[in-house]
């Protein structure tokens, strides 16, 4: 069977073009194609998520899970009320004293237009990039202010968010109300995360809230991370471990905010 030279030439040309155009880092062609097709991806993604949200119905598994979550939330009611009071007071102070400018952070909203959630990874694709003054390692929070991940890959108009349950994710954590670092939140895949390197002298127990410690560059402190589920280890061990339950299921994340230093905000 004779393979025509034209077919071979076209095939090889396409391969070489693909390798050259896409394998090179920061290729202008890739950026141009992202600019062309991002609106289509955004529209399709929003439609899919809206359609999916309308179809979601309570199943028996969801009902039992809700009951379990409600039971655990009751034990957090006091903390929530205290936090809520502090939050309202904080918001009032911020409005009066322009706290965001003083703290050095502002936020930029983004839509989730793609995701890659499997056992060995947990990534989101958002429609903001370096053109919006985003940087690698910046904190990404949900609408409710819950820390969901960090920016791990950056393009001009797009960015990849590495969720806290991603096996590559590492976040410094402390207890709510505490001031010192108590451990590192490591993603384990499959929607799970573990708090490691907890000093055995720390008194931690189930249902305690953990927050970001603020010791990392570009990540502000006191962003909610999750709830302690199970504490592992003996008092004689140098370090303890704790299974952490994220506060937000991945499926519910459709809109996020990226916290960026105000020095990078575009001047008006």
């Amino acid at each position: 069977m004779i393979i025509s030279r034209k077919s071979t030439t076209i095939f090889v040309g396409l391969i070489v073009s693909a390798v050259i155009l896409l394998a090179l880092p920061s290729t202008p062609f890739g950026g141009f194609m992202r600019w062309i097709f991002t609106p289509l991806i955004q529209a399709t993604s929003r439609f899919t998520q809206a359609f999916r949200g309308a179809q979601t119905a309570c199943t028996s598994d969801t009902v039992s899970r809700l009951q379990d979550v409600e039971a655990r939330l009751r034990t957090l009611r006091v903390d929530y009320i205290t936090l809520k009071t502090l939050q309202e007071e904080n918001q009032s102070l911020r409005a009066q004293a322009k706290f965001l400018q003083a703290s050095g952070y502002d936020s930029v909203g983004a839509h989730v237009i793609g995701r890659d959630i499997y056992a060995d990874r947990a990534l989101l694709l958002i429609d903001r990039g370096s053109n919006d003054h985003l940087e690698l390692g910046q904190a990404v929070v949900s609408d409710a202010g819950i820390f969901v991940g960090k920016i791990s890959v950056l393009h001009e108009r797009l960015a990849t968010v590495e969720l806290i349950t991603d096996p590559q994710s590492r976040v410094a954590a402390s207890l709510v109300g505490g001031k010192q670092l108590i451990g590192v939140l490591e993603g384990k895949g499959n929607g799970a995360a573990t708090l490691t390197y907890i000093p055995s002298s720390e008194k931690i127990e189930r249902d305690q809230l953990i927050v970001t410690s603020g010791t990392e560059d570009k990540i502000t402190a006191h962003l909610p991370l999750g709830v302690i589920n199970v504490v592992e280890g003996k008092s004689t061990d140098p370090f303890l471990r704790a299974a952490i339950e994220p506060l937000l299921p991945v499926e519910s994340i459709t809109n996020v905010s990226v916290l960026r230093p105000t020095v990078l905000a575009p001047s008006l």
Partner: protein, 170 residues
């Protein structure tokens, strides 16, 4: 040229589906391979390459990892399927189409594994390659789409009918 561009745009739409729709629904449906196989069987092979190029381009541009090579993988897969269709499965039947679908999916997984392993070894990517979470369902959906498309083309056009003249005996 217009048909080639149309095929490329079909590939782009298939890629858009895989980026913006497939991750949010629980249906393991992918369109790049079925469209490419139908183009190989019922149309010109250049359009199959165009579909693969368009779909792979979108997957690479909107990849969540720092580097991806879907365009390269899809073009290689369609290239091998083209060879298989011209050397082995020469009859343009629904069975050939389904066989190409199964072979093509396995070839694509193999290239994904190979290129993913090399890119991890070279520290280009940090995430290992993984097979689709529901590989059997993916194969089933791909085969159903190819079969449906083939039957629609066969009933809607005359491209799949035999033109052998039938003479009654005697």
């Amino acid at each position: 040229m217009r048909r080639l561009l149309a095929a490329w745009f079909i590939g782009v739409l298939a890629g858009v589906w895989q980026v913006a729709v497939s991750p949010f629904i629980s249906l393991p449906v992918q369109w790049i391979l079925p469209f490419s196989i139908l183009a190989l069987i019922a149309s010109h092979r250049s359009r199959a390459y165009a579909i693969a190029f368009g779909g792979g381009l979108i997957l690479d541009i909107f990849s969540l990892q720092s580097a991806s090579f879907y365009t390269f993988e899809w073009l290689l897969t369609i290239g091998l399927l083209d060879l298989a269709q011209r050397w082995l499965l020469t009859d343009k039947s629904i069975y050939s189409a389904l066989a190409l679908c199964v072979i093509g999916q396995h070839i694509f997984w193999f290239f994904g594994w190979m290129i993913g392993s090399v890119s991890m070894w070279l520290h280009i990517n940090i995430y290992p390659w993984h097979i689709d979470p529901f590989p059997f369902q993916t194969m089933l959906w791909q085969s159903a789409l190819v079969a449906t498309g083939f039957l629609l083309i066969a009933t809607g056009t005359q491209r799949m009918t035999s033109h052998t003249e039938h003479r009654p005996y005697g």
